[in-house]
Symmetry: C2
Subunit: 309 residues, 2 copies
């Protein structure tokens, strides 16, 4: 069982009931939960002003906890990226604190990867995941694997459409010793052209997003394409893209149109259906970790070396 | 009076009545209007597939018209940027064809600027502007100045809030021989990190956007900031940002919060209230043109050399 430090680097927590349920759930799972002093602070839409959120990040790094878990995502990390003490965070990670989160947290994870190479986890947030009325079994099992250090990988079953699109590729190892990285597409793309964007040459890039129309997803993928990022990846793995609205103007343009188009633009395989994103069922994925991607029929596996914490 | 070539490089025209009204209005103003063969084509949400829209752009360049005017914006240019024959377009501009548009057209304008240095005009679109039930007087006057080559600049009156924020700066020339560039913020930022983003060192950057929440506007400005773009500008000029919805979660965070924050991040002045954006009243602004920015009390002037066409 772990010492879990809860802090708020992004948006202010409004759903305090979910926050409390999340804390109770983690305790029920046997964990020791420590709350950052500003976990529930609020400054306009942020969980405290910039200095407050930066201090919270650095307290999380100094907490000695096994896991530093975000209360929620939202918006707030990109504007404080220049103030983060990346070496301090990387040292905490080296000593065994695992940083976990998603969405806006993508900015922190990829900036840290760019600056230090340190590995963080794309995974749940306290409120939406552990604070759900019924937390997702797979989410909890993957989190448990991450906490215990017993996890050696993550797998999923992809759709027949994805299998058909990749029918010419043989089963086997599709990427070897590749760096797993990515997260929220909009947040990742918001780092392009800045010192906080990782330069990953042999990568497996995973992406998800919420509330973005497929044309915007395509525009963001186009930016990654034209920036030369996609050409350096061994595979693109698409998670869940949801909560957007198609309009009559789309006339058949949809998410699948974007995926089909993407496959015409790059040589690397595009896999879909990764259980990750703004959905209850989410894997824990080590961002910055060397992994193998193995595909057998309609099953994909991301395998990472067993690590002790 | 001018020969105006209408073409559709981005979204499909759905409001055909506005399109027709726009054509009629231009004719009434004494212009000769030529319609591209695919001006009203439709392929899902696009005005024809990629090859169709690329061909339309190149036909516009070969038209020998005085003005090549987009029917509308939407989305569609970023994905075809690699297929545009920039030298061919720049030659057409050198021979006297002025390319005019906005919104998604920002991608074309800035890619062309990056590739060739050629000047285009941020200005109206056919449907929304000339096709309005009552076209805006200032928009038409500025368009007329652009067409006639008589325009030597554009000016506007800014708010007292803007004047107060810049109270320590003396009236006079705030930028000399600077390159005017910019356009739609989201579209411009979608070029960052790619070969289509202009490297402008002594610039006056103007920006507008529609339907983007202030936190997203801030995230995009943050990207320009962290990419080092803003530090190289002599001034940032903000046009109209509209059609977004604040939420209870914002708790006082608003567009002005973003502008206030921006002013703490850069040394260059930030001017507001430029009449440009997704609004009826819009100036015609030469993107890529050397300009002087002159400020006297609450009046700003962008001055460019008189050019013959």
């Amino acid at each position: 069982m772990a010492h879990i430090y809860i802090y708020s680097p992004s948006g202010a927590v409004r759903d305090k009931a979910a926050f409390k349920r999340g804390v109770a759930r983690l305790k029920k799972l046997g964990h020791e939960v420590e709350l950052d002093a500003d976990a529930l602070s609020s400054h306009t839409r942020f969980a405290g002003d910039d200095a407050t959120r930066l201090a919270a990040i650095h307290r999380a790094a100094d907490s000695g906890a096994n896991v530093a878990l975000i209360s929620r995502g939202g918006y707030g990390l990109t504007r404080i990226l220049p103030g983060i003490k990346y070496k301090q965070v990387a040292k905490a990670i080296a000593k065994g604190t695992q940083f976990v989160g998603l969405s806006d947290f993508t900015a922190f994870q990829n900036a840290l990867l760019a600056k230090t190479g340190a590995v963080t986890w794309a995974g749940p947030a306290l409120g939406e995941d552990f604070g759900a009325e019924q937390p997702d079994d797979i989410m909890e099992a993957c989190f448990d694997d991450m906490v215990s250090g017993q996890g050696e990988g993550a797998g999923w079953h992809f759709s027949t459409a994805c299998a058909t699109a990749n029918a010419k590729r043989r089963s086997g190892v599709w990427a070897h010793d590749a760096v797993l990285w990515g997260g929220n597409l909009a947040v990742l793309v918001s780092l392009l052209g800045t010192p906080y964007f990782p330069q990953i040459k042999n990568g497996v890039l995973f992406l998800e997003d919420v509330g973005e129309h497929p044309y915007r997803i395509e525009r963001m993928l186009t930016q990654l394409l034209h920036a030369g990022v996609l050409a350096h990846q061994k595979a693109i793995v698409l998670g869940q893209f949801n909560n957007y609205k198609l309009t009559p103007h789309d006339k058949g343009f949809k998410l699948q149109s974007v995926i089909d188009w993407l496959r015409t633009q790059i040589k690397a395989p595009v896999l879909t259906d990764l259980p990750f994103g703004h959905v209850p069922t989410k894997l824990c994925l080590p961002v910055g970790q060397k992994i193998d991607l193995v595909v057998e029929d309609r099953d994909a596996l991301l395998l990472w070396a067993h690590t002790d914490h």
